[in-house]
């Protein structure tokens, strides 16, 4: 089963380097893959957004966001525990190249 792709833009804070998130977003758009991009996972978690529950329930997913521990417990906090096979790519620490390589196997 092909993992779904989720991208978090962290729109309400400046914790992600703009050049990293823009490059990841551009890379995903250029790769011609299907993905879901959301403004801010923290905000969705606070609202217990139903889409988080749907994403968590649909099997393998690759998430481009921040620290895996933070993402895991944000989903949990929203009542949507992530499946074991979920993979979180950390745009706070990894380069855009590394994130995109892992998600779509391409270089920026």
């Amino acid at each position: 089963m092909t993992p779904r792709i989720l991208y978090c833009h962290c729109a309400y804070a400046r914790v992600l380097a703009p050049e990293v998130k823009q490059a990841v977003l551009a890379g995903l758009a250029d790769a011609g893959v299907e993905f879901e991009a959301v403004p801010d996972l923290c905000e969705m978690s606070a609202r217990r957004d139903e889409r988080l529950q749907a994403l968590a329930a649909e099997g393998p997913v690759k998430i481009a966001a921040c620290f895996p521990r933070a993402v895991k417990w944000l989903f949990h906090s929203a009542g949507a525990p992530l499946p074991e096979e979920a993979e979180v790519l950390n745009m706070r620490e990894q380069s855009a190249e590394a994130v995109l390589h892992n998600i779509v196997g391409v270089k920026v």
Binding site: H9, C10, A11, Y12, A13, V15, Q22, L25, A26, L28, A29, D30, A31, G32, V33, E34, F35, E36, A37, V38, P39, D40, L41, C42, E43, S45, A46, R47, D49, R51, C66, F67, P68, R69, A70, V71, W73, L74, H76, S77, R92, E93
Partner: protein, 223 residues
């Protein structure tokens, strides 16, 4: 709270357009299944960027021991207890933006703020050094010279007695500022949060309510 409106675009969509939508609070689904820039539900109200910066504690339940220190510590009723007696974040929007103080008092480094600057409160993996140095745990007793609530009571009593004799308000203000500065530096609490703290009596009342809540939960659900 932000938008629930979802925009559907086809693969190959411009990253600039995507980014602009995300900044405005739209979620975007890029899929083959729909025509370019079709709005999935045009009856929805267009979103506007949230005024609330999503800043709130997230509990790592793999580390949390349900000690309830966060519940006793927070003066803003962010924490509560579930029906099963488990600590949980119940009022996210009560949390004071950029204040990570409760994570500092957590003895297990189990409270994270994903938008915080520094490790491991931002959700990075907790390292042995974090625990060994107890860098995350500020011993308020040591910081303020004893139990914080008895200290506040003593301070209040002394202040009343001193004011009745001397009315040395300047000195009291200076002491308070010193104390607040210590807290601000040690716990990285924004000045606005400290400035907005309730009165000593109100803090005491809230602390007693929170303590009673924590004790009741522990009594009902002993670990």
């Amino acid at each position: 709270m932000s938008a629930v409106l979802q925009v559907v675009m086809q693969p190959g969509a411009s990253a600039q357009a995507l980014s602009a939508l995300l900044e405005k609070g739209y979620s975007v689904r890029v899929t083959q299944d729909a025509p370019r820039t079709a709005v999935s539900d045009p009856t929805e109200v267009a979103p506007s960027p949230s005024k609330w910066k999503p800043w709130f504690p997230v509990i790592d339940y793999q580390r949390c021991t349900n000690c309830m220190q966060c519940l006793s510590f927070c003066l803003f009723d962010v924490y509560g207890v579930s029906k099963e007696g488990k600590i949980q974040v119940q009022n996210q929007t009560n949390c004071k933006t950029d204040c990570p103080a409760c994570s500092r008092v957590c003895p297990e480094v189990a409270i994270l703020f994903p938008k915080y600057r520094h490790n491991p409160i931002n959700g990075s993996e907790v390292q042995a050094d974090d625990l060994r140095r107890e860098a995350m745990k500020v011993d308020i007793s040591a910081l303020l010279g004893g139990d914080i609530y008895s200290m506040l009571r003593d301070r209040s009593a002394k202040a009343k007695s001193r004011f009745s004799k001397e009315r040395d308000e300047d000195r009291a203000l200076k002491e308070r500022l010193n104390c607040l500065n210590k807290l601000q530096q040690a716990m990285d609490i924004p000045g606005e949060v400290l400035a907005a703290l309730p009165s000593v009596d109100e803090i005491r009342r809230k602390a007693e309510v929170a303590k009673a809540k924590a004790e009741e939960a522990k009594r009902q659900f002993p670990s």
